[in-house]
């Protein structure tokens, strides 16, 4: 077979095109790898047993805990240490300098944040699940009605809207009226963000179930609701569970709506009608903090958040794969 005239040129163009796609893909992945790498290295250094079992410690206590000394200020006196330099330098009045609160490694942990995130996100998911799944069923199984088209459009708009909007809405509707930041308000805000995700993934997954299944059930005299719950949903279950996990991951990572609704806390709180800690809020507040120890905690919180989402994803994959595997 003789080589075409422009064979080398065509080969060259092919390689250039292939090279550019590979390059672009690399560019797309670099930020992701950078973020994961950064969080892993910096976050992992913050980890210790205490990190998971302890709650927030003020820097004043932190220094004391680090070298075994008594705290420079009485932690129960809100006015202690006012006007006194906290960086270890001697005060102007000649009294002895207090311990340097900027020194020392991270002290305390984020247990309150882990508990708070699980409660707030879990409750948000609990609110969003029935609404999202039933709405998804409606959109898929009764897809031809005009109302469904409207709902589908609204869902897309909602899932594309900035998360702070959900926070503002709940702030106005719940926080202002109840005169209290609360975990439940945060859950409601997350619910608003989760509903479109659960709805659309449920709808898409149900649509993937072959029409012949619905026909078979219909041919046996099964009403739509019966076939949906006995045949269609079981067949689509792995996909629906994945969608639910996506919603959980999205909710667990949200910060903006929580600032306006749960406020945050430095202690373990399980009171749903009071402010509560959460991992993204801790990461946000500790990053702003002037204390290096708290900055480290922020990386730790980010790391735990990532791991939480990753582990849940893996668990769900394993669980659904086993189900799917059994069906072969």
């Amino acid at each position: 077979m003789n080589t075409p005239k422009n064979y080398r040129w065509r080969k060259f163009v092919d390689q250039v095109m292939r090279g550019s796609t590979v390059f672009a893909t690399g560019c797309a992945v670099i930020p992701l790898i950078a973020i994961i790498g950064y969080v892993l290295t910096l976050g992992a250094s913050a980890l210790s047993v205490q990190f998971f079992t302890d709650v927030y410690q003020p820097p004043n206590m932190a220094q004391a805990a680090a070298d075994g000394s008594t705290p420079a200020f009485d932690p129960n006196d809100p006015f202690a240490g006012i006007g006194v330099p906290t960086d270890g330098t001697a005060p102007a009045d000649g009294t002895a300098p207090v311990a340097d609160v900027y020194a020392g490694g991270p002290v305390g942990g984020v247990l309150h944040g882990i508990i708070g995130t699980l409660i707030i996100t879990g409750m948000g998911l609990l609110f969003a699940l029935p609404i999202g799944i039933f709405a998804g069923i409606y959109l898929s199984e009764y897809r031809n009605e005009r109302y469904a088209t409207i709902v589908r459009f609204c869902c897309d708009v909602l899932s594309g809207s900035p998360s702070i909007v959900a926070g503002v809405v709940i702030y106005i509707l719940v926080v202002i009226r109840s005169h209290e930041f609360s975990a439940i308000a945060g859950s409601l805000a997350l619910m608003i963000l989760m509903i479109p995700i659960v709805t659309r993934t449920t709808e898409e997954m149900l649509k993937l179930v072959p029409e012949s299944m619905r026909e078979a059930a219909r041919g046996l005299g099964a009403p739509t609701w019966y076939s949906t719950f006995t045949v269609i949903i079981p067949a689509a279950l792995p996909g629906i569970v994945t969608g639910v996990m996506l919603a959980f991951a999205r909710g667990a990572g949200e910060t903006a709506p929580l600032i306006l609704t749960v406020l945050g806390s430095n202690v373990i709180s399980t009171n749903l009608f009071a402010p509560m800690a959460s991992l993204p809020l801790l990461a946000y507040r500790y990053t702003e903090s002037p204390y290096p120890g708290e900055n480290t905690l922020a990386w730790g919180a980010a790391f735990v958040l990532m791991m939480l989402v990753l582990v849940m994803n893996i668990l769900v994959r394993v669980a659904t794969r086993r189900r799917a595997g059994a069906s072969r």
């Binding site: 299944m213 026909e215 059930a217 046996l220 005299g221 099964a222 045949v231 079981p234 067949a235 069906s327």
Partner: protein
């Protein structure tokens, strides 16, 4: 148009006493009455007329085959019998489709209850992603049967009637219906359809996705079921229609209107040996279609 349907009507009255003479399937004591009476039945998808004024009487406890080239409306007619088109937008019917004397397109008829009496087997085997047992038990549970012993008994009975019991009795609860071979899946679907004791079974080209051996098993099965059920089968395979059916309807698309029309409906023997319409003869002898 009215003349032709009147002719079909008179012919359909005439066949009743003829059917009983077939030694292969019927004894002389069998009374043959029309299970399904199709009267000037037209079917539309939106503005498109898919079937034009079909009239025929489908006899009880017989096998009726509907044959014809692609696009002639035979599947549409079959699925119209148990209102499978209800979910299709714009699909509607004119005329009457009477099941035990009741027009199934009467607004008072509940399609769900109708389908419990008129079962269906589809072109592609479509078992649920459930165990073999649950697949067969599905129709029973839909009908509200809760007695576990009775369900188990019915499932066994249906699988035996569908000639599948020996192949699956060891793994009723272990294997999913979808794990069976194509032919087994189709027999499972037939077992599923007959488990809830429907009066009519509609079969939409039940063998077209199967190999010849599996097809033969299904045909044997149809032969076994003909005494208890009224079977209507759509098929592309004329040999199959000749083998399994007592009555045959031949449909053809009208070239001008593109609507399917019933050309001839008669005893299978007569249809395949001495059809009264030239077009039937042409089709059966393979000259077109």
């Amino acid at each position: 148009m009215t003349m032709r349907s009147a002719m079909t009507l008179s012919r359909s009255i005439g066949f009743a006493d003829l059917v009983g003479t077939r030694t292969r399937t019927r004894s002389a004591t069998d009374s043959v009455n029309a299970k399904i009476e199709v009267r000037n039945f037209s079917f539309f998808y939106g503005n498109f007329k898919a079937i034009n004024t079909v009239s025929m009487d489908i006899p009880a406890n017989h096998v009726t085959a509907i044959i014809g080239p692609s696009g002639c409306g035979k599947s549409t007619l079959l699925r119209a019998i148990n209102r499978m088109h209800d979910a299709t937008i714009g699909a509607h019917a004119e005329g009457e489709m009477r099941f035990d004397g009741v027009n199934v397109y009467d607004p008072a008829v509940d399609s769900v209850l109708l389908r419990r009496r008129v079962g269906m087997v589809f072109q592609r085997p479509n078992p649920f992603q459930l165990t073999i047992f649950d697949n067969v038990a599905y129709g029973l549970r839909v009908n509200g049967m809760r007695d576990k012993k009775l369900i188990a008994q019915k499932v066994e009975e249906s699988l035996k009637r569908a000639a599948l019991w020996d192949e699956v009795k060891d793994r009723l609860f272990k294997s999913l219906g979808t794990a069976l071979s194509g032919g087994q899946q189709q027999r499972l679907c037939i077992a599923r359809a007959i488990a809830s004791d429907p009066e009519v079974i509609l079969m939409d080209e039940p063998c077209s996705a199967l190999d010849p051996i599996a097809s033969l098993k299904i045909e044997d099965l149809i032969d076994d079921l003909r005494d208890q059920f009224t079977i209507v089968i759509v098929t592309h395979n004329m040999q199959q229609a000749a083998r399994v059916s007592d009555m045959t309807a031949f449909m053809l698309m009208n070239r001008a209107t593109r609507a399917g029309e019933l050309i001839e409906f008669d005893q299978t023997d007569k249809m395949f040996t001495a059809p009264s319409d030239q077009r039937t003869e042409d089709y059966i002898s393979g000259q077109f279609g």
